[in-house]
């Protein structure tokens, strides 16, 4: 295995170093920066890792649901990136301590706010904790079922698991859409609880899905470059690029639809949320979002050339992932004030969380064979024609 090569252990040590420096900075941020800023950072990065993990678990289940063959040879990559889910759940449980700090509906003043009083049946701490627990348990169960099951199949070669995985996929879809909607409503739009948007859950789902595809694309390309997926061909990656193209458009469509409906109706309690995010100092961030999340990947992936070569695919995937970070930053950080904050606490916590996430994925990358060798559909997936 490549895990023992000197270059690989150097990368590992660098990542551990980055994480440790980040951890020290994070501790420093907890004691010196404002508590609000600390927990908002914590939430941002936890959601970044969690959505990447969930997006990849969704890709795995989607393949099972539709019975796709083409993605089977690459499926180990999303299964491994999905290992961010247990890590992110732990981080989200820690973030529960920050709930009374950053969520205004927990503050005593909420009792005098008629809008929050009306929403109290949903926005109260016990119910919030129950929802978090239910989501975490459901995610973990499906994660273990799909990822562990697939790894066990490597040795057992038992086709019954493939059938079971397909049967359970519709249930996962239903549960997944509800849980991502809850995640979006509770942890992001709950930061400004007077605001609401019915399609906010779909918006987060679209971002989760497309960033999941981008992470999978990066993983597949990096394994291919190391020669660890010798049988995966351009045609497989091409199809993943097509899926990425389709869902950058989907994300742009959902994002714009949400914005346009609120812009058209022009109701004060809805518009104020966008006003804080697209005017003044936040305007450059708001302009960066469609650029990174739509225009760059769209024009890179629209032609057939862009989907056949690693360089444009990698660039598109990086643009989407950066766009996903900018998206979450743009959704969450305006609660801290009218200017985008990015100082040393942000940098330190970025190092800490990105280091943790990279180490987790690296660890998972060594687990099992690089292709699901026990899957009866693997041969068809390798043979598959566009």
């Amino acid at each position: 295995m490549s895990a023992t090569s000197p270059r690989s252990s150097l990368v590992r040590n660098l990542l551990v170093g980055l994480t440790l420096i980040g951890a020290a900075g994070t501790a420093g941020a907890y004691f010196s920066a404002s508590r609000e800023r600390f927990w908002v950072n914590w939430l941002l990065w936890t959601l970044f890792l969690l959505t990447l993990g969930l997006g990849n678990l969704f890709l795995v289940a989607l393949e099972r649901l539709v019975g796709a063959h083409w993605s089977v040879p690459m499926r180990r990559v999303p299964e491994r990136i999905a290992s961010l889910i247990p890590l992110a759940i732990v981080l989200l449980l820690v973030a529960f301590f920050g709930v009374p700090v950053i969520f205004p509906w927990t503050h005593p003043a909420a009792a005098h706010n008629p809008i929050l009083v009306a929403k109290a049946a949903w926005l109260n701490l016990p119910f919030f904790a129950i929802r978090l627990a239910v989501c975490a348990v459901v995610w973990m169960l499906f994660y273990r079922f799909y990822v562990r099951g697939s790894l066990r199949q490597d040795e057992s070669k038992d086709p019954a698991f493939t059938v079971r995985a397909r049967r359970l996929a519709p249930a996962f879809m239903v549960v997944f859409f509800f849980s991502v909607t809850i995640l979006a409503f509770d942890w992001i739009s709950g930061l400004e609880p007077e605001w609401y948007s019915d399609m906010f859950g779909v918006y987060l789902f679209a971002g989760t899905f497309i960033s999941g595809i981008a992470a999978m694309l990066l993983g597949v390309l990096s394994l291919m470059r190391r020669g660890r997926l010798p049988e995966v061909q351009t045609k497989h990656v091409y199809n993943l690029g097509s899926l990425g193209l389709a869902f950058t458009v989907f994300f742009a469509y959902i994002g714009f639809a949400q914005y346009m409906l609120i812009w058209y109706a022009n109701l004060p309690d809805e518009v104020i949320w966008f006003k804080h995010r697209i005017e003044g100092a936040w305007q450059p961030v708001a302009l960066l979002l469609p650029l990174l999340h739509f225009f760059i990947p769209f024009f890179l992936l629209i032609g057939s050339v862009g989907k056949k070569h690693p360089a444009p695919l990698r660039l598109a995937a990086l643009s989407i992932l950066l766009g996903h970070f900018v998206d979450l930053y743009w959704l969450i950080f305006p609660v801290l004030g009218p200017r985008p904050l990015f100082g040393w606490p942000e940098l330190a916590m970025a190092c800490f969380f990105l280091g943790l996430g990279s180490l987790q994925i690296r660890r998972a990358m060594g687990r099992g064979a690089d292709m699901p060798v026990g899957d009866p559909l693997l041969a068809q997936g390798l043979e598959w024609q566009v």
């Binding site: 714009f256 914005y259 346009m260 812009w263 058209y264 629209i302 032609g303």
Partner: protein, 377 residues
């Protein structure tokens, strides 16, 4: 000529084999390679030596042109040709244009893809093809894939082509002769097609006209006319006072219609002065207001000789008289708001700026009719 060969067809059932065969045969330049398959086979286009299609770039170009045209059109309509403020939004609101831009992009792109594919790249229309008369065509439209080597010159060697196909895994081979007719597109065929399209349009249009106008079976689509609405002065059961038109909310003042702060025109004359500068557009506005509202009684030059028949018994004021000329601007404004003698108030018809503009215009009339030597210098 009926013995001449159009092409040699080799039949396959495996998509991989036909691609491999095409790759093997292409460098031998036996004739033009063509493939007939019931479903698209990946890589076959390259294997038979087709250059990459320019269709994608054309579609992209037309899509971008569609988006640009939609933006220009909507911007021109909303902000230039018929500026109408809707819901307090800016005249050029790109947010509102995006859905139409998106649709026009898709429209241009799909029409380009469809029409260019059919007519430019696939060279339609043609009304027949020699392969349609082959024995293999039944298989080709079902589950067989055919690789065809077409004769491109007199020197075409059908036997060599037949052997090349058999050597490269063809399950069976068929020699397709050149059919008796030599031109696939005949004038008669073209005329027949055009006649059929015209006939179809005539039947559809005539049928709809008969069903809608002659014997009204299909009701005409006038949903916008039939929508629930209230006309002016119509009764309404919805509002408590039964009136369809709504009175102004108590305590509000319409823009340009401040209530008078004076009781008589004389008082207005002492209180008010004309706030508008005398400029060309304001003079023109005053000219229009004067023509619309004042000239009918006061005369076109303001001399108090009405344009109406003598049967109208009023005695309008003469703006050129010394008495009226001496009055301050505010006095005119006051009369416009409060009325005088038989003249009603024009407060509801003219807003503040209209009133002040017409006062300017009256001053212009007075000066024109009492010109002094200095005015000519």
């Amino acid at each position: 000529m009926s013995s001449a060969t159009f092409a040699v067809l080799g039949l396959y059932t495996d998509a991989h084999k036909i691609v491999d065969a095409a790759n093997q045969i292409r460098p031998r330049k036996l004739g033009r390679l063509e493939a007939y398959t019931p479903y698209p086979v990946h890589g076959l286009d390259r294997a038979i030596g087709l250059a990459p299609s320019g269709l994608g770039r054309l579609v992209m170009l037309m899509g971008v042109i569609g988006a640009g045209l939609a933006l220009l059109f909507e911007g021109w309509v909303s902000a230039v040709d018929y500026p109408l403020v809707t819901g307090g939004k800016a005249l050029f609101s790109w947010q509102a244009f995006v859905p139409v831009m998106f649709e026009v992009t898709v429209l241009f792109a799909t029409f380009t893809a469809g029409l260019a594919m059919l007519f430019a790249f696939n060279k339609l229309p043609f009304f027949g093809h020699p392969v349609l008369h082959s024995r293999a065509i039944k298989g080709i439209t079902r589950d067989k894939l055919a690789l065809s080597i077409e004769a491109t010159s007199e020197a075409f060697d059908a036997e060599a082509a037949r052997r090349a196909l058999l050597d490269n895994g063809a399950e069976s081979v068929e020699i397709v002769p050149v059919p008796a007719w030599d031109r696939p597109l005949s004038l008669v065929g073209l005329l027949r097609t055009i006649a059929a399209i015209v006939a179809a349009c005539a039947v559809a249009g005539g049928g709809l006209f008969a069903a809608e106008k002659l014997m009204p079976i299909v009701p005409p689509m006038i949903h916008m006319h039939e929508q629930p609405k209230l006309n002016a002065f119509q009764e309404s059961a919805f509002f408590a006072d039964g009136r369809g038109m709504r009175p102004a909310v108590a305590g509000t003042v319409a823009r340009g219609h401040l209530p008078p702060a004076f009781a008589t025109p004389e008082e207005a004359g002492t209180l008010l002065s004309n706030p508008l500068p005398l400029t060309q557009p304001i003079a023109e506005r005053g000219h229009k207001v004067f023509g619309d509202h004042c000239a009918i009684c006061h005369g076109l030059v303001g001399d108090g000789v009405p344009l109406l028949s003598r049967a109208y018994g009023g005695k309008p004021g003469n703006f050129l008289s010394n008495e009226i000329r001496a009055r301050p601007d505010g006095h005119y404004f006051g009369v416009l708001m409060l009325g005088k003698n038989a003249m009603p108030s024009y407060a509801a018809d003219l807003d503040q700026d209209d009133r002040w503009a017409v006062v300017h215009y009256i001053r212009i009339l007075q000066r024109a009719q009492n010109a002094k030597d200095e005015d000519l210098r």
